[in-house]
């Protein structure tokens, strides 16, 4: 008899976005003439940079000709892209990352979901709250959690790292020992950003405890403050204890084009039951080459173009555009008397709604025709907050804030 992975039975249905969709649809049916402005899902809205489009077309043309056609590429990605990444995203900022430590993939969601596979199911996992749900769900599926505790609103056996007003949504070190630690900065959903000193505490913790940090830096392009780290490898010692996830999705508008990468330093170690060190790089390489067959060649060429001088200027403009939206949203909400996190060094503004998340969501939807995301959907610590995303046109953002200002 074919038996299921019973861990799937523990998963709570992800009601967040379907619940939002239901409420939005009900509103639209009741108000067919009202224009909705969506500042909910974290999806980019502006076209691919011109440099990427040109490279994309050129590579498609290569595929159209036997002589320049590309079949299977190296599973880890083409050298041209791995080298451009290592050089521009790391070495240029003084962080030591070699091209062969870069694994190109089709998405940071996939990588952050899959990476846990190479570790024992018998480890303690620490995840932030509020959190990007993929970190939690993939560990539940793998059997690293206990059951869902309805009363706590959490899974048993996971260690939750609380974000709250007091710590500015930068979690403190846990009291109990943890083995695998998920961190995300600039944070999704809160927009909070850790300093070099705060990351250093985590790196030191991981070194002292032989833990491993999975550092999600998918939003690093939004960091503008030169004092803030854009990579965990700007922190001393991180190469021994941290993996970093990056993506072209938010940096260059690749959410529908699909390209990302993961850095796995050769100096990162994990351990056998007997305490023998094993290279995390070699484990991930085995996983990656066995279950993945690289990213579309034209997409890799489009991603490479991000690093051309034309591409760099274009993504700078793209990021500045969204950051200008974010600044505008934050200023307006603060002027209305709401405390905000993010919106600086991040495309997300995390707003203390001074009421419960869904009530605030409903008010913005029904009275202003603006869709946001209720913070409670990201975990217990998100209750009372909403997330507004800066991914939209400036015209829509200003109109949304005008409407919101009228009703609050």
């Amino acid at each position: 008899m074919i038996k299921i992975n019973e861990n799937y039975q523990k998963l709570q249905a992800s009601y967040l976005f379907s619940n939002i969709a239901k409420r939005v649809s009900a509103f639209q049916q009741a108000n067919p003439d009202k224009k909705l402005i969506k500042l909910g899902i974290g999806d980019v809205t502006r076209a691919l940079p011109d440099a990427c489009v040109k490279a994309f077309h050129a590579a498609v043309d290569e595929m159209a000709n036997d002589a320049t056609f590309h079949g299977y590429g190296p599973e880890q990605g083409y050298d041209f892209l791995r080298e451009a990444i290592a050089k521009n995203d790391f070495q240029a900022r003084g962080a030591q990352v070699d091209a062969d430590e870069v694994f190109v993939s089709d998405g940071a969601k996939c990588d952050s979901g899959n990476f846990q596979e190479i570790f024992s199911t018998d480890i303690t996992v620490a995840i932030p709250d509020p959190v990007y749900p993929v970190y939690v769900d993939t560990n539940v599926m793998a059997g690293r959690s206990g059951n869902w505790n309805e009363e706590l609103g959490r899974y048993e056996n996971l260690v939750y790292l609380d974000g709250n007003r007091e710590n500015g949504f930068i979690p403190e070190l846990p009291e109990q020992q943890v083995d695998l630690i998920y961190l995300c900065f600039p944070n999704n959903p809160t927009g909070s950003m850790a300093t070099r000193e705060q990351l250093k505490q985590w790196v030191d913790y991981a070194r002292a405890n032989k833990s491993l940090i999975l550092y999600d830096a998918a939003y690093e392009a939004f960091v503008q403050d030169e004092d803030l780290p854009r990579s965990i490898y700007e922190v001393e010692g991180a190469r021994e204890v941290a993996i970093e996830f990056r993506s072209f999705s938010k940096t260059a508008g690749f959410t529908g084009t699909r390209c990302a990468y993961t850095v796995v330093p050769k100096s990162c170690m994990a351990y056998t039951e007997a305490g023998e060190a094993v290279s995390v790089h070699s484990l991930w390489n085995r996983r990656h080459t066995t279950k993945f067959n690289s990213v579309s060649y034209p997409v890799q060429r489009a991603a490479e173009a991000v690093y051309s001088s034309e591409g760099q200027a274009q993504i700078k403009e793209l990021i500045a555009y969204y950051l200008n939206n974010a600044k505008y949203i934050r200023e307006k909400m603060e002027a209305l008397g709401y405390e905000c996190i993010g919106g600086v060094n991040s495309p997300y503004i995390w707003i203390d709604g001074k009421t419960d998340s869904w009530a605030f969501f409903d008010r913005l939807l029904n009275e202003a025709g603006v869709v946001c995301t209720p913070g409670a959907g990201f975990g217990k610590c998100g209750e009372g907050y909403i997330r507004i995303s800066a991914f939209n046109s400036f015209e829509n953002v200003t109109e949304a804030m005008e409407r919101i200002s009228k009703i609050l």
Copy 2:
């Protein structure tokens, strides 16, 4: 302490292709002027069909404009592609598959590697021998095998379905009960093709034993004989017990472009420990939406173009070209007195070398400058055989066969 998934320690290093690469490289150093002809790896060599190229370019242009830009798509793939697949690949052949049973992905390798995740680690897995190594390795990683048994040349606790001259490399039903069954037709590596009646035996077995079949039909486009099934869903009852993997890789030259799909009928069930039926479709949907973020939009548009009348004519020509190579190789080898499987309804020719696999490989390499794949690399039952692939230009294929004819 971060502990590794110790199942990875059981994995045997995949020496096959690196071993081939080493021997090829040694030959090239010793014979710098000799032109090598590679008929080894199963990778296509001809350009993308023109219809796909056009659709690819048009979709890249959509991404270049805010008004037509595509961000995140549905994780399961766009409806336009799912509907084209269901209609053309199944319904048109009388097989009942609905669009929402089609999950678009970036590769059949990924899908056939990932699908096992939704099942218990406590099931018995049957895999063919010779075999596409991904089926084996991903189950070893998940902990469904015992250790590697050096003497047997196999992993403990997996059930191997022997292919051999007697059964024409179409395995018989196993003697012991198995829960998850991997089948691949047209077969990689042997090129063997099961009849409807042979598949019916497996479907009946799975129904009787509440087993599930993972049917890899990545090479179905090569099936020309109208009496042979191109999908397992052409067999009665298969919708209750079979998943099917398909790919645009070999059908339309997408190995470097990346697009595939998996069919999961809503009537397929797996079971809890307590015997309660759970929809495999809902389990896979949960896995797919949690760990995957769909395929590049322009790539999905390129794949859709395969189903246009222009695209259909072009892939027909593409497949006919490779099949003509295959026929030529098989006829030449048979004329030389070698028994062959495949080469008809398949791009692979599986040849009884009448000596050990590596010796035959070395002879073709060193005396004829032709690279093939030693059958022993695909499992114990492959010993004594080599695989020659038809993926190359007809000019190279004829030259290779001329050289081989001279030395054998």
